[in-house]
Symmetry: C2
Subunit: 404 residues, 2 copies
């Protein structure tokens, strides 16, 4: 992993173009170079829940993200800043991204937004979002009940204190089950917030961070066009595709395709919160450069180990094995016989099954380690295929069809 | 770590004698050489709860133990045997020890025996011990309520299936708060069980395992003498000191001293369940070769990081820092500035405090990693001091006085 170099400025280069809108690139930050397409792992509260820095390095992780919302509440942005900023604080000296804090505020406000933006309904959860106004979002800390107002300028201030390389504008993460009129009004407010974020960022720009604008507009192609053009028209370093991408895979791929067709082509594009294997292949084809998702580490905590299509054993529709299944009880094979991770080198499915059944945390760690290696290795294969002009062959060999 | 060599036979060598009864030695097993004095880490259910094999290797761990009681219930000894035995099952290809299963049966029977044998009273816990007879111990599985009878021969059969290098006889772990007459009768039954264990072991001896006899007798010097001589008189490969060692440190050191004075001097001696820093120094002085205890990993799960006396900050009577204390909130130092472990290389006390406060499991892993390194490093220092004839100087520099 490269050493922090404060004199290293940011840049994004497209090294090669692939089929459709796919592209091979590199994203330089003061904390190191990210080869794209890349996957960004979620270190929500400034830590991957079950993986050490050493384990992240061993699996060739390039970049991790932390959540502004959680960190502003605990230990607090000032505390992180006093401890040298996120990279010194976590001991991860590579590239980092922080989100704006908006996603979790609206998530806790609307219920579970991860479900909601994907159209899976609104479970009844305790709501801590008090009010959304033109100024920002007022919410209550889930830790001590204290009230906070997160404005675009405040999100920029907090993200500046946290000190990640890549930061994003404050937006409202619009739910799926709302009227188009609400989605439009929310998008327009998010655009105003994006400009306020940009101005606040520029007022303190010291060259150590770069700002991403977020495209909203829900599942409506006309709104996505307006939003993509709006964000492209302003001097953001990168673009992120956010908001609801629909209730089904096909709808998501359509929304991504229509959004990408209107975004300027020279900036890095991040797809927020998406990390399924097919989603990544389809996203890369549409020109997405980076992805993030809690999926690889979250499923590990439920015994889910990511596998290539030819290693699926218990459910061919699923991109992972469920190692809790009793069929693995005496299985002497590693998760994947063709995997080079340390978990597959050292442990059998039978042993991992035992750890899951006895609820020993090591089981989650070992599966998360495999999943992290799997994701980084997948992105490496994708980059290699783009470089060698064989991306569609790789795409097909994983069993996917081009959509749309 | 050495590779498994089934042709490598066992041996125990005393390489050098130190002050009082202290000794530097080596214990050869088919899975590798253990330099003694050594600490044995508890991988209770065939796993260290928060550490991977890689992390154990990085901290120079020599040997781990698993508990027969837990493994016979889940996944079952036959299941472990079908998966190649404990070393293949766990992926830990170094030396291993299993206990007899007795300790946990009697622990769940009497309440919490770890407290009880140390004279800290008998908390009211669910009891699964049904009956102790001349034949063995009848108990109920805490998992599915099924009844089991553990006899000396059955403990040997299970430990043979599990396949650890070092195994121990079935004994009753006598509580502290019982009459001397009960302690004596229990000791005599444990002696009969020890011979039955030895005979069952010898009937199937294939050279792959060696058996330890256990000295009982509670806190009574006359009983300890009888038991030590009895065990010494039979062809056990090694000796273990078990049962209640008293309610206070001084009583424990007295019991160990009187026991050791009656044990033959040519076999390796293990002190069961003891692993405090001073306890180890005092034990080494009395001739103990190996120690085991859940302490280093258990305190890690409560934020306890082992430190050398000169690094104690929050409570000088305690051998660890409590990193949950708010005094560490903004502390930019590692757990120990003079520690070479990966946790101290990568992380500050402030960050570990944050992980503990947010209950992120990584915090326990990182502290356990430090504690494992600490214990292995402590044993290395002790061995070096014995080799260099400076053990008493080391002993004094850690602030201990010779007892008794």
């Amino acid at each position: 992993m490269p050493v922090y170099n404060p004199n290293q400025s940011f840049n994004f280069k497209i090294l090669k173009k692939g089929p459709h809108a796919a592209r091979l690139g590199s994203l330089q930050t003061p904390h190191g170079l990210i080869k794209t397409p890349a996957f960004i792992f979620c270190a929500t509260k400034a830590a991957m829940k079950s993986l050490t820095i050493e384990q992240l390095k061993t699996s060739d992780t390039q970049i991790i993200l932390s959540n502004t919302y959680h960190l502003m509440l605990q230990p607090g942005a000032e505390s992180v800043e006093k401890q040298g900023g996120l990279q010194k604080f976590t001991g991860w000296h590579g590239p980092m991204l922080t989100d704006s804090g908006g996603f979790q505020i609206f998530s806790l406000g609307h219920g579970n937004i991860a479900d909601e933006i994907k159209g899976r309904g609104m479970p009844n959860r305790s709501k801590t979002l008090l009010e959304i106004t033109e100024e920002g979002a007022r919410f209550r800390s889930y830790i001590n009940g204290k009230e906070y107002l997160l404005t675009p300028a405040e999100s920029m201030r907090i993200q500046r204190l946290l000190g990640a390389d890549l930061i994003v504008v404050l937006d409202e993460c619009t739910p799926y089950h709302v009227e188009k009129s609400y989605t439009q009004a929310s998008m327009e407010r998010s655009h105003r917030w994006a400009l306020q974020s940009l101005n606040a960022y520029l007022a303190h720009d010291n060259g150590k961070q770069k700002l991403y604008g977020i495209v909203q507009g829900g599942v409506y192609p006309d709104l996505r066009k307006i939003s993509a053009e709006f964000i492209s028209d302003h001097p953001f370093f990168g673009h992120a595709v956010g908001g609801s991408l629909g209730a089904e895979k096909q709808e998501m791929y359509d929304v991504i395709a229509s959004t990408m067709s209107h975004l300027s082509k020279d900036r890095p594009v991040h797809l927020l919160g998406i990390g399924g294997i097919e989603d990544i292949f389809q996203g890369v084809l549409q020109g997405i450069d980076t992805f993030d998702c809690v999926h690889p580490t979250r499923i590990a905590r439920h015994g889910g180990a990511l596998v290539k299509p030819w290693n699926r054993l218990d459910n061919h529709k699923r991109e992972h094995l469920n190692l809790r299944n009793s069929q693995y009880k005496l299985d002497l094979n590693p998760i994947e016989p063709d995997c080079a991770c340390t978990t597959c080198a050292n442990h059998t499915r039978g042993y991992l099954h035992h750890l899951l059944k006895t609820e020993i945390f090591l089981g989650f760690t070992l599966i998360a380690q495999h999943n992290a290696f799997f994701m980084n290795n997948l992105m490496k294969q994708i980059r290699y295929a783009l470089e060698q002009n064989i991306f569609l062959e790789l795409f097909n060999s994983w069993g996917f069809q081009q959509k749309p």
